[in-house]
């Protein structure tokens, strides 16, 4: 047995043993750094590198330390784009940053999903939590389109949905952190939604019940994502350091949110052009 293999086995045993005795730390939001880095990240890394071949651009716009609010487009039936963005910042950013995601209450009331979300650093999308994380110098990620973005049909792909009233902007202004737009291309094609069975969604308490060319027809096989080519690009940060006075001005907030949305949309068009077909290497 090679010693490298032995080391790897020992490390796994070590982690399992410590975790079974409860010897690990989580922060007040429930973020479990060890679990995220040692268990979740390796599993996602296979998808990130081999399946979706994700390319990151503009990482220099994300600061090495301190708070920043990352705002992105949302798509792909399940929030795979959030997971890939998170792993990209951990693996490819020089400062190996953890992205703390803001999720809808649906996420946290769903068994297992809520537990997974909290342990990988997510929390409920509400201003007290967002401001607390930003003030503490964390990188916070938000997808203002929410379910309107992830659950949209394939013919609406890469068309940004409504951004709501822009509560995320208020959190950034209040805490004076930059807003960094991020455009994600590729997630739209992993599960092309061609229908939504509304009665079934209501029955199961889901925001939508997606129908794709393979799901639910092929059962579990239909849950395999299509191997589209991904690009993730961070845009120029928007400085908010002297805008704290505007944090309670709804029109100012709305306009700024719109500006962020426009910038994401334009970058998406640029990336689509650069990428060409969705399923090339």
């Amino acid at each position: 047995m090679s010693s490298r293999f032995e080391d790897a086995i020992n490390k796994v045993f070590d982690i399992v043993e410590r975790r079974l005795s409860g010897d690990y730390e989580v922060d007040e939001f429930g973020f479990d750094q060890e679990l995220t880095e040692e268990v979740v990240a390796p599993a996602l890394r296979v998808l990130y590198r081999k399946w979706f071949r994700v390319e990151m651009h503009g990482l220099e716009h994300v600061p090495d330390k301190g708070g920043a609010l990352i705002v992105g487009n949302h798509s792909g039936a399940i929030a795979m784009d959030a997971a890939m963005l998170q792993l990209g910042l951990l693996d490819d950013h020089p400062a190996r940053r953890h992205l703390r995601l803001l999720g809808a209450d649906f996420v946290f009331k769903t068994p297992l999903l809520g537990e997974y979300a909290r342990k990988t650093g997510a929390t409920l999308a509400c201003n007290p939590d967002a401001e607390r994380l930003l003030t503490a110098g964390h990188l916070v990620g938000v997808f203002p389109e929410g379910f309107k973005g992830v659950g949209k049909p394939v013919w609406d792909r890469y068309k940004l949905q409504r951004f709501g009233r822009g509560g995320f902007v208020a959190a950034a202004l209040k805490t004076g952190v930059p807003i960094i737009p991020v455009s994600i291309v590729g997630a739209e094609e992993i599960y092309p939604i061609i229908g939504d069975i509304k009665p079934l969604a209501r029955l199961l308490g889901l925001p939508y019940f997606p129908v794709t060319p393979t799901f639910p027809w092929l059962g579990p096989l239909g849950a395999v994502p299509l191997p589209s080519k991904w690009h993730i690009e961070f845009g120029e940060p928007i400085d908010t350091s002297d805008m704290a006075d505007h944090a309670d001005d709804p029109m100012e907030i709305f306009n700024l949110a719109d500006q962020v949305k426009e910038s994401i949309q334009q970058t998406i068009h640029k990336l689509l052009e650069k990428r060409g077909g969705a399923f090339q290497p």
Partner: protein
């Protein structure tokens, strides 16, 4: 021995007993009077309730109200507990309002005042408002009692009123709801949920209550028409699964519908408060306590280890009720 006379209610319980003993040993306190939990409800004789008599006879300046409790284990029924929590608090405040001597009231409330719901922020500050109507009876008791305290503070602005919202208590010798829970052979949890929990070491609870009772009054006297609210808990949090592992217990995840079904049938003693708590947990920000009192409670993971950890040697059999 020139300080104020202090009345401690709920002194028949572990926490009240510890506090009364601590205050008795403190030179800054002239006299410590105690009222058992049931004294709050004892009927009036010749027009004066027992409480009014206690307050007048002892010329009590400071009242520490610890008799709001969640445990039904020592009362016969839920309605009796509600009577004690809510009517007891009302009676006590009414007696305080009539007394010419009382200058300070300290009330032990609970983190349960924040409820536990899906729409709540991850960390409660003293300014966090309830987002959902609380489902549990204990939470309602706490909110009712706090409501009376706010009304009292408005009517008597010259009396300094402090509300301390305590995280669930744990202590090596204390028999608390938490120690009973973690001592179960199989610890029931809700399948698919791993709430963040926060604890307060009982020694820290005694320290904070002691400080709230004896700290000097501001000069000149301040008038407040609302109570000062402080969160009291061990900073930080731990996932319930981790706490169970560290207490060397075995988690028994049960689907939520099964748990609530069993609870509704009365087969197990789990209230709806506890069900919500077991799904969403409850964590408070305690920075205001640290700032105003200068007391740093033991962080939650350390407090938990001190009580349930491998070297704690906790024996549940010899515990006393808190």
């Amino acid at each position: 021995m020139t300080g104020p006379a202090v009345l401690v209610t709920g002194a028949d319980r572990y926490l009240g007993g510890r506090l009364a003993a601590r205050l008795t040993a403190d030179d800054r306190v002239a006299r410590v009077m105690t009222a058992a939990t049931d004294d709050l409800l004892s009927p009036a004789s010749n027009g004066r309730s027992k409480l009014t008599e206690l307050l007048a006879d002892g010329r009590v300046c400071t009242v520490v109200h610890l008799a709001i409790g969640a445990s039904t284990s020592r009362t016969r029924s839920r309605s009796e507990l509600k009577e004690r929590n809510v009517i007891g608090t009302m009676q006590l405040l009414a007696a305080c309002q009539r007394s010419p001597h009382v200058r300070r009231v300290v009330v032990k409330s609970a983190a349960a005042a924040y409820g536990a719901s899906i729409r709540d922020p991850a960390i409660f500050t003293e300014d966090t408002e309830l987002r959902a109507v609380p489902r549990g009876e204990y939470t309602k008791d706490v909110l009712d009692a706090e409501g009376y305290v706010r009304g009292f503070a408005r009517r008597r602005p010259e009396i300094e009123v402090t509300v301390l919202r305590l995280a669930p208590l744990i202590g090596p010798k204390a028999d608390t709801a938490m120690s009973r829970y973690f001592a179960l052979p199989l610890v029931p949890t809700v399948l698919g949920f791993d709430p963040r929990v926060q604890f307060l070491h009982i020694d820290d609870a005694v320290d904070v209550l002691h400080h709230a009772t004896v700290r000097p009054h501001p000069e000149p006297p301040e008038r407040h028409d609302r109570p000062t609210v402080l969160n009291v808990g061990g900073p930080g949090a731990m996932p319930l699964s981790q706490a169970i592992r560290r207490a060397r217990g075995i988690a028994a995840p049960v689907p939520e519908f099964a748990l609530s079904g069993l609870a509704a049938l009365g087969s197990i003693d789990v209230s709806r408060d506890q069900l919500d708590f077991l799904r969403y947990g409850r964590v408070m920000d305690v920075s205001r306590l640290v700032e105003t009192y200068g007391i740093n409670p033991l962080p939650t993971p350390e407090a938990f280890d001190a009580v349930f950890g491998a070297k704690s040697g906790t024996e549940f059999g010899t515990a006393e009720e808190a």
